[in-house]
């Protein structure tokens, strides 16, 4: 294994290391903030003791000035500290996200074992959640500081009282935390039910035209109502649990306050506490529960960050699918592409030759075998998974550097993927190409309607995945894109399935003109007679084997099975 072992722990440690400057400064400031928060009740006690109870004006002014200073420190420490911590999370999430995308788009492919949907959620939410480890660090440190400051303040006032509060509060919080797993479970199922309801609504409305087409809107509405009622039940269960927890917290905090107030009042009555100290103790007893709860929250947050980091690590640490060589671009030979005795996923000892200047048709009776051939030619199959050799200009494809291989062989898929952006950007696929070249390719792909129907021409904007084009238009733009790229070997897989008969005929003729001359090779993997008609030769694959080869017309005349498979 060439890739270093990447685990969730590695991802988390790396996050802290990368953001160490922000994290360190953020922690210092957040600790300061929590310490000053803890001192607010003490300050109130001091004002009451020194000024309100005595009526001393100068003491009042002095203590109010002290209070102002306290608030100033508190506010600015929070502002700067929280910003630093937040920035650390955001920068880390961004960096991780970009790394994930780069890894997912690795030209060699990666064996993360995740589908697109999963990968998407890893880039969207797991990148963010794993970065939260930075926030956990800040919050934990700040909460501990608050507890220490409050503890010291309490112990200074009265040692037994301080010890009682210090032991009592964590015990109570821990006891209340025992409900946490139940709360989490309930609110997780609540969120799941609500997300399912939302997803159902989106799904049904997205398919609204389909539903309307068969008059199924009422059934759909009833199905949604069922899901909505289920979500309501689950939500109410969660709300009841939350209410119970809230009520319990209120009661427990109140009982604790009663105990502290009673004891501190008794101490004050004994003259061991001033009135201000009484106020401060009561205030601190209430305050200290907050940082303790924060610690509990941090534990949950850390568990979440670790789980997400595990998924991030799965993507970043995934091994490449193929191990390409490092040979440079091969010199052109009379046979641009050759398969020698290739066996893979249903293909059995298949040999093919694509000559320079030739258009080769491949008709696989089983669509799965056509897919297997496409995967092989696209270089998506690791060496170990197939037998035989794929040669590009005489050089075994797996010895070529990935860029060299891709520079020679281009596979345009059946389900064309277009991207948001201008028509020009889509056609040129990132290269800088003359409009004349684009126009010629669009014409060859019989896609002039896409261009002509729009006032902006090549600057026409395509929406996400070319959704504002019809299926047939997308296919033809995909074909035009491949013709613009003008690769030495072009592989087209069922390029006209969404295109009407008239247009397909036109396209076939023009495609023959565009690719038939020169030294390039073209492979048309298709069952369309209109396309097979323009090929020089057709190789027929049945049950994984090449069963017959020859010009389309001859096969049509001599082979009954061939005729049946290609007749539309």
């Amino acid at each position: 294994m060439t890739v270093a072992e990447t685990t969730g722990g590695v991802v988390l440690r790396r996050a802290l290391r990368r953001q160490r400057a922000r994290v360190a400064a953020g922690i210092a400031l957040l600790c300061t903030h929590q310490a000053t928060e803890a001192l607010v009740p003490v300050a109130i006690g001091v004002v009451i003791d020194s000024a309100v109870a005595t009526g001393d004006v100068s003491a009042l002014l002095l203590s109010l000035a002290g209070l102002a200073a306290l608030f100033t420190v508190l506010a600015f420490a929070y502002r700067a500290g929280a910003r630093l911590a937040f920035a650390a999370v955001e920068h880390e999430a961004h960096a991780t996200r970009v790394e994930i995308v780069r890894s997912a788009l690795d030209p060699r492919g990666r064996r993360s074992g995740m589908r697109d949907g999963e990968l998407l959620s890893v880039t969207a939410s797991d990148a963010e959640l794993s970065a939260l480890v930075v926030r956990v660090a800040g919050l934990t440190a700040a909460a501990l500081t608050a507890i220490v400051v409050a503890a010291v303040a309490l112990l200074v006032v009265d040692i037994p009282l301080g010890l009682g509060v210090l032991i009592g509060v964590p015990l109570l919080v821990v006891a209340l935390q025992r409900m946490a797993p139940l709360l989490t479970r309930r609110s997780t199922s609540q969120q799941e039910a609500l997300a399912a309801t939302t997803a159902l609504a989106v799904d049904l409305v997205s398919g609204l035209r389909v539903l309307r087409g068969i008059g199924a809107q009422d059934h759909a509405a009833r199905r949604y109502a069922g899901a909505s009622r289920h979500a309501l039940d689950v939500t109410l269960r969660a709300a009841t649990t939350k209410g119970l927890h809230l009520g319990l917290t209120t009661t427990v905090n109140g009982l604790f306050l009663a105990t502290v107030a009673g004891f501190a009042g008794w101490l004050a009555l004994q003259g061991r506490l001033t009135i201000g100290e009484l106020v401060a103790v009561v205030g601190l007893a209430q305050f200290i529960a907050e940082p303790v709860q924060t610690l509990g929250y941090c534990v949950q947050l850390f568990a979440m960050a670790r789980a997400s980091a595990g998924r991030v690590a799965r993507v970043l640490g995934a091994a490449p699918v193929v191990q390409p060589g490092d040979a440079g671009p091969p010199t052109p030979t009379p046979f641009r592409l050759a398969l020698d005795g290739v066996s893979y996923a249903g293909l059995d000892d298949v040999s093919l030759r694509v000559r320079a200047g030739e258009i080769l048709g491949v008709l696989a009776y089983d669509p799965g075998e056509a897919e297997a051939l496409v995967a092989l030619l696209a270089g998506r199959v690791p060496r170990a998974d197939h037998r035989g050799t794929v040669r590009v200009d005489g050089v075994p494809a797996d010895e070529l550097h990935i860029d060299a291989a891709r520079a020679v062989v281009l596979v345009e898929q059946h389900d064309v993927a277009l991207f948001e952006g201008t028509l020009r950007a889509n056609l040129s696929a990132g290269a800088s190409v003359d409009d004349e070249v684009l126009r010629a390719a669009v014409r060859a792909a019989a896609a002039e309607d896409v261009l002509a129907a729009h006032p902006h021409g090549f600057d026409r904007l395509l929406t996400e995945r070319g959704a504002n084009l019809s299926g047939g238009q997308r296919q033809r733009i995909g074909l035009a894109r491949a013709l613009v790229a003008d690769p030495p070997v072009l592989v087209l897989h069922n390029p006209t399935t969404a295109i009407d008969a008239v247009t397909e005929g036109l396209l076939a003729t023009r495609l023959a003109e565009a690719r038939g001359a020169g030294t390039s090779g073209t492979v048309l993997i298709t069952t369309s007679p209109a396309l097979l008609r323009i090929t020089d030769r057709v190789t027929v694959i049945d049950r994984g084997r090449v069963v017959v080869e020859g010009p389309h017309e001859r096969l049509l005349a001599s082979d009954a099975r061939y005729r049946e498979e290609t007749l539309r």
Partner: protein, 608 residues
């Protein structure tokens, strides 16, 4: 999203007044629950005031030098209030949730019901984008705010109001001192909302664009790799992610500046209360205990006020979403009146359909159809053939009753389609278009959308008729296998087989297939054509044909050219006529030996 110049904003949004009225109306439907919830919440907040008040009295008593039992009594009062407050809080939260969540569930169900029954004309104009956003995002926003922030927000609000009242009850002068903070808070809030709301909208857009770029690149990964565009896509995603990140940072900066202003307000209020307490105690107008209670009251307010202020923007967002939801509920209701469903056993009786279009155009656009008169006899299968843009889909839409012709009419069994209610129409005339959608969830559920009462046997029969039995059998859980978004991805041919199976289960009298088998991989094309024939057997059928083999098997063929009927007749008649159709057919079904291929000389090219 805005690349096409048409405005999509066609669904109504309710005004603030309408939204409130709708909410009040909903609450009025549950009068007892509303009253109980309100009482409990107020009582819970009120019991929360006991402790600070008792602490103030305790301070006074300690100063006066009271005895131990009195201190214990005060502590017992705090304890009693705590138990009561806990009880009221727990029950109040549960009851309030029942009220709020029930109202919300009813609202979302009504929104989806109206969305699903959007009149065809509105749907064709508005598209599904905005509708999806409302049924999805807006419902989710309102639901989440009510479920997560709702109880806390309400509790905080009551807490603030009652504490302020308590402050006044204690001593009106201390109450006024506390109110000194109110303008400071108000200014801070106004400052924040003015900036944050537009910011959040921008952040949502930026996050959406980032997600979109990522999804596109990952889904199209094979193409990205084939064209060596990885760097460009990574750069684009990095750029968008950077924009979203910077916006988040700016928003957080705003948030912390808001926090600063809140801290300032807290100090102003606290200092004012302490100062007032000082003056009152000095003037012998209040006790030290009262001053202490006031300071504690005010300190107690920090958290709820902060919560109210920081949550205010999400509450505002929920309000905006709510207005959009209430807007959807004001749409006319085209849902089935009870009992209008055709009897299950009467469905599918063949019917004659006639259409006359003297002319049709979209808005002020060019004329797309003219001089068309067409009659489909009961059970007849007619194929519509023509190049892209010949007007096939428009004619299919008119016949399906989805598009009203500018000048002309369509009738079913002699009744104009415009006189049939939408629901009845859709049960009689089914339209299967190129737009395939596999509904997420178990495969059986997808099919039962067409007929919820279908038995497993009926479903199996429908699947068999469209030739899907074989691949359905290979699914891990058969009909229970999750398909569609988040489930097993079906090929487009399989998805179209499902569409045809739904058609069989819906069992309409008339079936219109608008290129319903077009996207299939070619190998499956013939199977799909067979499936389409099987699914429409015995129905009056119009097929917009992509492949001429579909046309060849039809009873009659209509060839459209630039909006007019160029030819019509049976396959054999049209071939004999020797017009455009016969040429097309010949170029399709057999190699054309007459036209010599231009590139035969390149058989033995010289390699460079």
């Amino acid at each position: 999203m805005t690349s096409e110049p048409t405005t999509r904003q066609l669904l109504p949004t309710a005004t603030g007044r309408q939204t409130w009225a709708a909410l009040r109306g909903e609450l009025a439907l549950l009068p007892r629950l509303s009253a109980v919830a309100g009482t409990l919440l107020i009582a819970a907040a009120a019991t929360g005031l006991v402790a600070p008040w008792v602490l103030g009295r305790l301070v006074d008593d300690v100063i006066a030098g009271t005895d131990t039992p009195r201190v214990i009594a005060w502590a017992a009062v705090i304890a009693g209030a705590a138990v009561l407050a806990g009880l009221l809080t727990a029950v109040g939260a549960a009851v309030a949730a029942r009220l709020g969540e029930t109202v919300l569930a009813r609202l979302r169900e009504r929104v989806l019901d109206r969305a699903l029954h959007l009149p065809s004309a509105t749907l064709e104009r508005a598209g599904t984008g905005d509708l999806v956003a409302r049924a999805g995002d807006d419902v989710a926003v309102v639901t989440n705010v009510i479920a997560t922030s709702g109880p806390a927000f309400l509790g905080a609000l009551l807490s603030v109001v009652l504490t302020a009242a308590g402050l006044f009850a204690l001593d009106w002068r201390l109450g006024i001192a506390g109110l000194v903070a109110a303008p400071a808070y108000a200014v801070a809030l106004r400052w924040y909302l003015k900036r944050s709301v537009p910011y959040y909208a921008r952040e949502r857009v930026a996050t959406g664009e980032r997600a979109q770029a990522t999804a596109e690149a990952l889904r199209g990964a094979a193409t990205v790799r084939a064209y060596r565009m990885e760097d460009a896509h990574v750069a684009r995603i990095a750029e968008r992610s950077g924009v979203a990140r910077d916006l988040s940072l700016e928003i957080f900066g705003l948030y912390t500046r808001f926090g600063l202003r809140i801290n300032r307000s807290e100090f102003v209020g606290l200092a004012a209360v302490l100062l007032a307490g000082f003056l009152l105690v000095r003037g012998d107008l209040a006790t030290v205990g009262a001053a202490t209670t006031a300071a504690l009251y005010f300190h107690r307010l920090f958290n709820p006020i902060g919560l109210l202020l920081f949550e205010s923007d999400s509450v505002l967002q929920a309000g905006a979403s709510l207005a959009r939801l209430v807007g959807v509920t004001t749409l006319p209701d085209t849902a089935a009146p009870a009992g209008s469903e055709p009897n299950r056993h009467d469905r599918g009786a063949p019917a004659a359909l006639e259409v006359t279009v003297r002319q049709h155009r979209y808005d002020d656009g060019p004329v797309v159809l003219r001089d068309i008169a067409l009659r489909l006899a009961p059970g007849e299968r007619v194929a519509l053939v023509g190049a892209s843009g010949a007007g096939k889909s428009t004619l299919a839409g008119i016949i399906a009753g989805i598009i009203a012709p500018t000048d002309g009419a369509a009738t079913l069994r002699g009744v104009p389609l415009t006189q049939l209610d939408e629901h009845r129409l859709r049960r009689e005339i089914a339209l299967i278009s190129q737009e395939v959608h596999v509904f997420a969830g178990p495969l059986g559920d997808d099919l039962r959308l067409a007929d919820p009462d279908a038995t497993d046997a009926e479903i199996a029969a429908a699947l068999d008729l469209v030739g899907a039995t074989e691949w359905v059998r290979t699914l891990p859980d058969g009909l229970a296998t999750a398909v569609g978004e988040g489930g097993r991805q079906l090929t487009s041919a399989q998805a179209q087989q499902l569409a045809l199976a739904r058609l069989i289960l819906a069992d309409p009298a008339v079936a219109i297939l608008d290129e319903a088998t077009a996207e299939a991989g070619s190998a499956g094309a013939r199977d799909l054509d067979r499936a389409a024939v099987a699914a429409t057997e015995g129905r009056t059928t119009l097929i917009v044909a992509h492949r001429l083999s579909q046309a060849a098997t039809a009873d009659r063929i209509v060839v459209l050219d630039q909006g007019r009927v160029a030819e019509h007749g049976t396959h054999a008649e049209l071939l004999r006529a020797g017009g455009g159709y016969s040429k097309l057919w010949r170029s399709w079904s057999m190699p054309d030996p007459v036209v010599p291929r231009e590139r035969e000389s390149t058989d033995q090219p010289v390699p460079r």
